[in-house]
């Protein structure tokens, strides 16, 4: 057996036992760590229950607090034990008691056998990730956190404030580039061994002991130092809400989990009997080659976020603040802001003009070089100049004027994170605006340009930040515009429905079903490109999940060092 498993358990031990049995039955040696907070009788009963399995060993118990160092220490300890006693292991999987294998463990082994050198660990630099609890991202690594966040929240906050006030900063050990990511990884023996036997480990350990939530950063950072081949994603499916708490899977998620084709999922609700009865699926036909596809799960959980922002205004949830700026339409008539479509399709403007047979469809009006009017002329109706400086001097007036001057026709223009962003608030608050965004579509031009990878990475991070900021505005409670946001992955999967809506909007009347679709840019290899970005520590979260197709051979892998935090 090539695969060994570390299981960290602290609650619902009966379910943990079930999960451990799945691992052990498949022939994997398992080392179990049980939190010291579990009471002694319960612990003994748990050990007894598993005493029939000689592949299962229990390790020294640490008392683990959320966000504390002990969890890492426990993992290190368990990993050392596993590596020392089983020389045959090639991959080590870190799982929890609330993890459940969804597919047969043997399929996971086959999958890993085909990738003997690869470390699966989600690992991104702080500037690239959107998930930050309590507003602390980079500061996790530069402040001290001696107080428990759960138990002494006030002192925790106070101490952080104090350090910020006096400008305290810890020195990060040389050579260490902080990375963060999912706690659940699968590392090769080579990498794990290198981490555990690194002569500088005492220095690193001393440093990480005071980092906040080291279980999400210690191995993620260390792997960057020692690994030769990182796949920056977790093989364990786990989703987090905006407070950083893990989503729990219930019985009604059964079909969803099955579709995801992921190997392992967490957290499973201990009382979800149906899930525990169903998974892991029995090994029936050889579908080992099916790669995990967490995108469907992503969609369901992302929808929960969107629903509140796209709900109808005027319902009880909106009316809590009667002082909301009730400035209604500031423009003369309805107009459309289209973001990302011109990137996905060849000559989208031309197609839309033809399809609507009416409205003015402009290019990127707010592009950095000049305003691209529909007929590409330097001066448009009403004496509007295409000069960028003149336009940006008062971009809001530029837009209101354009719409006023052409109020007989519906105006539509392309927009994107590379354009002037000063109009965002005005457009968002304007009831006349119809905003459609394919988020992350800017990646396509970067993908097609095939420039130096480090430049691409930098530019992608910049555009993503701009677009993320814009989407935050569109999701704010003050937004009155009609807003439609989908990720690139979602849009590409079924573009026609959205296009139909846009055509109806621009021509201001319902149309018969669209006969002709615009031609889409070739996107083969985009999934691999995105995974490459991820492997370099940049997390393109706005594009949505593309099915992993790294095996298609279009890899752009370069040996660039990850971009530094500082």
């Amino acid at each position: 057996m090539n695969l060994g498993v570390i299981v960290l358990a602290h609650t619902a031990l009966q379910r943990a036992e079930q999960a451990i049995r799945h691992w052990a039955d498949a022939g994997c040696p398992v080392v179990v760590h049980v939190d010291r907070k579990v009471d002694q009788n319960e612990y003994s009963a748990f050990v007894d229950a598993l005493s029939d399995l000689d592949r299962v060993k229990f390790t020294r118990r640490y008392r683990c607090d959320w966000g504390g160092w002990e969890l890492v220490a426990a993992t290190q300890n368990a990993a050392t034990e596993l590596l020392d006693t089983h020389s045959e292991l090639r991959h080590i999987y870190l799982a929890s008691g609330a993890c459940l294998p969804l597919r047969p463990v043997s399929e996971l082994c086959t999958y890993l056998d085909a990738r003997p050198e690869t470390d699966f660990i989600e690992s991104s630099t702080t500037e690239d990730v959107p998930w930050t609890v309590g507003g602390l991202d980079e500061e996790r690594f530069t402040l001290r956190f001696p107080f428990s966040w759960r138990r002494h929240r006030r002192i925790f906050d106070l101490y952080v404030k104090l350090q910020q006030l006096i400008g305290f900063k810890r020195r990060i050990p040389t050579g260490v580039v902080p990375h963060m990511g999912s706690q659940w990884w699968c590392l090769t023996r080579r990498t794990l061994n290198a981490i555990l036997t690194d002569p500088k480990r005492p220095i690193y350990d001393r440093y990480f002991r005071k980092v906040w939530i080291p279980d999400e950063s210690y191995f993620q950072t260390m792997a960057r130092l020692h690994s030769t081949k990182i796949e920056s994603r977790s093989l364990t499916l786990s989703k987090f809400d905006f407070q950083g708490k893990p989503h729990v899977f219930y019985n009604d998620h059964k079909a969803l989990l099955r579709r995801s084709a992921c190997f392992v999922a967490r957290k499973i609700w201990p009382r979800a009997d149906e899930l525990y009865d169903t998974f892991p699926l029995p090994y029936d036909k050889p579908d080992d080659h099916v790669t995990p596809n967490p995108s469907s799960v992503d969609r369901v959980f992302a929808n929960a976020v969107d629903r509140r922002t796209l709900g109808r205004p005027g319902l009880y949830m909106q009316s809590r603040f009667p002082t909301v700026d009730r400035e209604n339409a500031v423009t003369a008539g309805p107009y459309s802001v289209l973001q990302g479509f011109a990137e996905v399709f060849d000559d989208f403007e031309g197609w839309l003009t033809k399809a609507t047979g009416g409205g003015d469809v402009h290019g990127h009006l707010f592009a950095p070089d000049r305003a691209h009017f529909t007929d590409d002329s330097p001066v448009y109706v009403g004496g509007m100049s295409d000069h960028p400086t003149l336009r940006d001097y008062n971009a809001k007036m530029f837009l209101t004027n354009l719409i006023w001057n052409n109020r007989a026709k519906h105006q539509a223009f392309q927009f994107g994170p590379m354009d002037t962003q000063t109009i965002n608030w005005m457009v968002a608050k304007d009831t006349n605006a119809r905003i459609s965004v394919v988020s992350g579509a800017w990646i396509i031009s970067l993908f097609l340009a095939r420039e130096e990878f480090s430049d691409v990475r930098k530019e992608a991070a910049r555009l993503q930040q701009i677009e993320h900021k814009q989407l935050k505005i569109l999701r704010s409670p003050f937004t009155k515009a009609r807003v439609r946001v989908m990720t690139l992955a979602e849009f590409v999967r079924s573009p026609m429905e959205t296009l139909q809506i846009i055509v109806d909007e621009v021509s201001e009347q319902p149309h018969p079903r669209l006969a002709e679709a615009p031609s889409m840019v070739k996107l083969d290899g985009l999934g691999a490109f995105l995974q490459d970005l991820r492997n370099q520590g940049m997390h393109p979260f706005l594009t949505g999940e593309f099915a992993e197709d790294t095996d298609t051979g279009t890899s752009l892998q370069t040996q660039q060092k990850p971009y530094l935090v500082r």
């Binding site: 989703k239 809400d241 905006f242 407070q243 708490k245 989503h247 729990v248 219930y250 019985n251 009604d252 609700w269 009382r271 369901v300 959980f301 929960a304 629903r307 509140r308 709900g311 109808r312 005027g314 319902l315 009880y316 949830m317 909106q318 009316s319 809590r320 603040f321 704010s476 409670p477």
Partner: protein, 320 residues
């Protein structure tokens, strides 16, 4: 709270099975009067959801309610013949029981004509919900009350005890809810719905309040103020979403307008025991005895929790 202590002497135990309450049991509290028709389905609904033990106060029923409840294996029953209104509509009586038995438990406080639903309630039971709330650090769970009514004028179809009352009352108002901020109790005050539309047009501030906080992790220091609309300490009814921050919430399906409401309203007219201002309610009860038609073209037929989530009447919050 002192009221609860004082009024406890008005309660007489009929059937006390509270010894069956275990650590972590979910408790149901209700004060009833002549509800033998609604109770069979009520019990079924909440047993399905995972309520472990019910504590009822019977306020002078004469239709067999007490006998029915005393027979149920998971019910403890108290009886009182004192005034419902002077006991703040039963809250003083229930408050005493909650203080004594509810401490440390998730307590559900509902009327016999209220059916609690929440997102995923068909597949996730109350223990699933409360454990998630615990995990989120929340001590209370809010619900919007939605009135159900029939297609025909009220009182024309006969309801069979034990059947789903939603089948007899399939319609509700999908919009027309308004909310204001209650300055004293710091909760969201939601009014509207069908009663507002039909009965309280001339005097909307008197319309029934629709926000409730029926599910609370009880502490002996807690107390409901006015039915389950308001509760102290005040942070407990901080349960609804804000524009920036979506909170998961549920809905109480209000099955008041079954055919029996006509009879009951006649009785109410005589008893005059209802909320804050009995004079206003007298008009309302009078109107109810005349079999009003509550349905209108904008009514929606109830389809299930997903529909209510899509309408924005309850929210999945972050419970994915």
């Amino acid at each position: 709270m002192f009221r609860c202590l004082r009024k406890r002497r008005q309660l007489h135990a009929v059937q006390n099975r509270t010894a069956a309450i275990r650590k972590g049991s979910i408790l149901g509290f209700s004060c009833v009067r002549n509800e033998v028709i609604r109770l069979p389905y009520f019990m079924q609904h909440y047993r399905d959801l995972g309520v472990d033990h019910f504590l009822f106060v019977d306020n002078g029923s004469d239709d067999g309610t007490a006998d029915y409840l005393a027979e149920q294996p998971d019910v403890s029953l108290w009886r009182t013949d004192d005034s419902y209104r002077l006991s703040r509509f039963g809250m003083d009586w229930l408050g005493w029981l909650q203080m004594k038995y509810g401490h440390g438990h998730w307590c559900l406080t509902v009327d016999a004509d209220e059916l609690l639903i929440y997102p995923q309630h068909d597949t996730r039971k109350l223990p699933d919900l409360t454990s998630w709330l615990d995990n989120q650090g929340r001590q209370s769970f809010g619900a919007l009350m939605i009135e159900l009514y029939p297609r025909e004028p009220v009182g024309q179809t006969t309801y069979q005890p034990g059947t789903d009352p939603v089948a007899a009352l399939p319609f509700f108002d999908p919009d027309g809810y308004r909310s204001t901020w209650h300055a004293i109790f710091r909760n969201l005050w939601i009014q509207g719905g069908v009663r507002d539309r039909v009965f309280f047009g001339p005097d909307p501030t008197r319309a029934p309040t629709l926000n409730k906080t029926p599910l609370i992790k009880w502490d002996r220091r807690h107390a409901y103020v006015s039915s389950t609309h308001q509760v102290l300490p005040r942070h407990l009814h901080d349960v609804f979403g804000t524009p920036q921050y979506d909170r998961m919430s549920g809905v109480l399906l209000h099955t008041k307008f079954l055919d029996i409401v006509v009879e009951k309203s006649k009785e109410e007219q005589i008893r005059q025991q209802h909320f804050e201002n009995s004079a206003v309610y007298a008009e309302y009860h009078k109107a109810l005895t005349k079999s009003p038609d509550l349905w209108y073209a904008g009514s929606n037929q109830y389809e299930g929790w997903r529909q209510l989530v899509d309408l924005g009447l309850m929210s999945k919050g972050t419970w994915g």
